[in-house]
Symmetry: C2
Subunit: 387 residues, 2 copies
């Protein structure tokens, strides 16, 4: 069992009618960069509410809008430029994970003289960042309470993450009612994303802290229970609230408990986004059950048994392999039937043309040292299983 440091500084206002506390949280600052995506927050009225609170707090406001679903480094650069030129002292990200991720790169980029892409290309450390306040509108990536930001470089076809302690949002507002307008497809993709974050940590070669395994099983059960309710009734507060809090705790570092082994499905998925621009959660949904099938063996079956029994309530009296296979089948049914997500590459327009290049990209020339070690050839096989 590995040692670890637990240090999650984000303060969270959770629940409806919490947004008015934005005024007191902003008051200590002078100039805010408001970061958001397309027009959805204008349509929903959220933009007007936020502007009103910023005005009440007495801040000068600058805007970066049009953040892409997979935020691009060019957008980050635009934000950094504004932040530096205007002397911004706080960033307010209003949106889903993409907007918050973009805000994180801007927050770090505003504090250095070099180009923000060097946080990745030269592995430059993020030693400080502008304070980030987030208002979450989509339960999925967990960016509202973690220290990671993912951006894409369309020129190099790279989608990369940067982790650093200064990137934790200082304050996040989690109001489940702000996700009422999230459509069926995005709700499904977000739920698949949450589930995947837990699965990546749960299925690990590192020793487990049993207590955290039980927490992970709980979060997975929560998604399995409430995602269908949110699909059925988008304004079900209980469902939206459970998905929202699950999204944060699936990836904020708590469940990790010192595990250091690499994730498996995420690097495979990042290639799909980089090459085809598909939604992250959808890519994960197609890949995960195939990856599981590929990894299942006498050596790994134990973890699948715990997963099947504790998350999907599968009959313990079955044989281990029966439980494991049934667990993968039930996960597939959940993703493809209950959530209604596409189950093959073909259905989302991915052919075999880039499989070799993507496998190389996912392995970065090395192997993925995860639950089961994956070399380029293994990754190719998993991609082919998805065709």
């Amino acid at each position: 069992m590995n040692s670890f440091i637990y240090d999650i500084p984000t303060k969270v206002y959770f629940g409806k009618n919490q947004l008015e506390n934005l005024v007191s949280e902003l008051k200590t600052y002078k100039k805010v960069l408001l970061v958001y995506g397309g027009g959805s927050i204008k349509k929903s009225g959220l933009y007007d509410r936020v502007i009103k609170f910023i005005n009440n707090a007495g801040l000068e406001v600058f805007e970066l809008f049009g953040v892409e679903p997979n935020p691009e480094i060019g957008t980050v650069r635009r934000g950094v430029k504004i932040a530096k030129e205007k002397g911004v002292d706080v960033i307010l990200a209003v949106g889903g994970g993409s907007v918050i991720d973009c805000a994180k790169w801007i927050a770090g980029g505003a504090k250095v003289e070099f180009d923000a892409w060097e946080f990745y290309s030269k592995n430059a450390p993020v030693l400080s960042a502008l304070p980030i306040i987030s208002i979450l509108t989509l339960s999925a990536t967990g960016s509202e309470m973690d220290s990671c930001g993912v951006v894409t470089n369309p020129e190099t076809k790279e989608k990369v993450g940067k982790l650093a302690q200064p990137l934790y949002p200082k304050v996040s507002f989690l109001d489940p009612t702000l996700t009422y307008t999230v459509d069926r497809y995005q709700t499904a993709c977000g739920s698949a994303d949450i589930l995947s974050h837990v699965i990546e940590t749960y299925f690990s070669k590192d020793d487990d802290l049993f207590m955290l395994d039980t927490v992970m099983e709980g979060i997975m059960k929560t998604v399995v229970k409430y995602a269908p309710i949110a699909l059925e009734n988008p304004c079900d507060y209980e469902a939206r609230a459970n998905l929202m809090w699950a999204s944060s705790w699936a990836i904020n570092g708590f469940i990790l408990g010192g595990k250091v082994k690499a994730w498996s499905c995420h690097p495979l998925e990042h290639q799909l986004t980089a090459y085809y621009g598909i939604t992250h959660g959808l890519g994960l949904a197609i890949l995960t059950p195939r990856w599981m099938k590929y990894c299942l063996s006498d050596k790994t079956v134990d973890k699948f048994v715990s997963f099947g029994v504790n998350v999907f309530d599968i009959d313990k009296s079955l044989s281990e392999m029966e439980i494991a296979n049934k667990a993968i089948e039930m996960l597939s049914n959940f993703l493809y039937k209950t959530l209604g997500l596409s189950d093959t590459f073909e259905k989302v327009g991915i052919g075999s043309e880039n499989i070799s290049a993507m496998a190389l990209g996912a392995s970065k020339g090395r192997f993925i040292d995860g639950f089961v070690p994956l070399y380029k050839e293994d990754i190719e096989t998993i991609y082919k299983m998805c065709l």
Copy 2:
């Protein structure tokens, strides 16, 4: 479902060999007040290690030793006096919950001109406190990661808690190997305490956030699984680690998720400690199953069913009342047989002489507005069930 603010600022170093980080954590300070209990940390060698780290960090050290198992306000006053006279700028608490609780009252008391008892007697707010660093040696109260300190006033026979955001330890060191020397009895009492913290939150009239219910069930399963292992083999790292992390998360505020209803067993137990000085976890162990029996009805049975099925794996096909009664029976067996704790007041030297006064004290002249409302008469009945 209530809204809530999540704000737990404590940084935790978890695992063996983490203690050396004490040097870097202390370095920014000048004068430390080292707070500890009896001589156990001297016997175990921990005292010498800590002094070495303090010296390496270059701090001047002052000591408050002899903190009682239920820390008394007089001890707090001694600590406040040292802190003020010497200009202490950080408090280092080495011990279990009592030592950390005492350190919290000192940390708050050092910042005000009035007597620390007025935090309770006049409900004076704790607006600031000296930073607290804790090194935990007993998994039980969760004080290492919460904002509450409990002290006893022997003159007024009051045992009272104070909650305030500035009382969260800044840093806590959780090294499971430091609990290897905790004896059988204290390990059992500590485990009962952890379990009780979760039960108090789990059994609530407030609406549940299902996700947090699953987390609570997980923590309870963790205690039920690992307490017997720690009793059997005190140096089992996995067992001690699981109990330690469970103790923090059972009460740091996370599982609360906006529930505001009062706890029930704790106020009843605090009277036992105030009148008879018994160990907190033992008092809780005697009380909890009786309180459950008293509360069980057609109106409350649902929660007992979830508890029985998800924590004790009771057969779902039984009737609700059968499951509920079996759950209480299994909890009793765990506390009294597996952990070996005494199961009646008589066995711990408590007679009927103070029941009426204790019931009055527990209800503070009002009723306890918890899972089931408890008036003075209800509390008397529960006490009598324990005789």
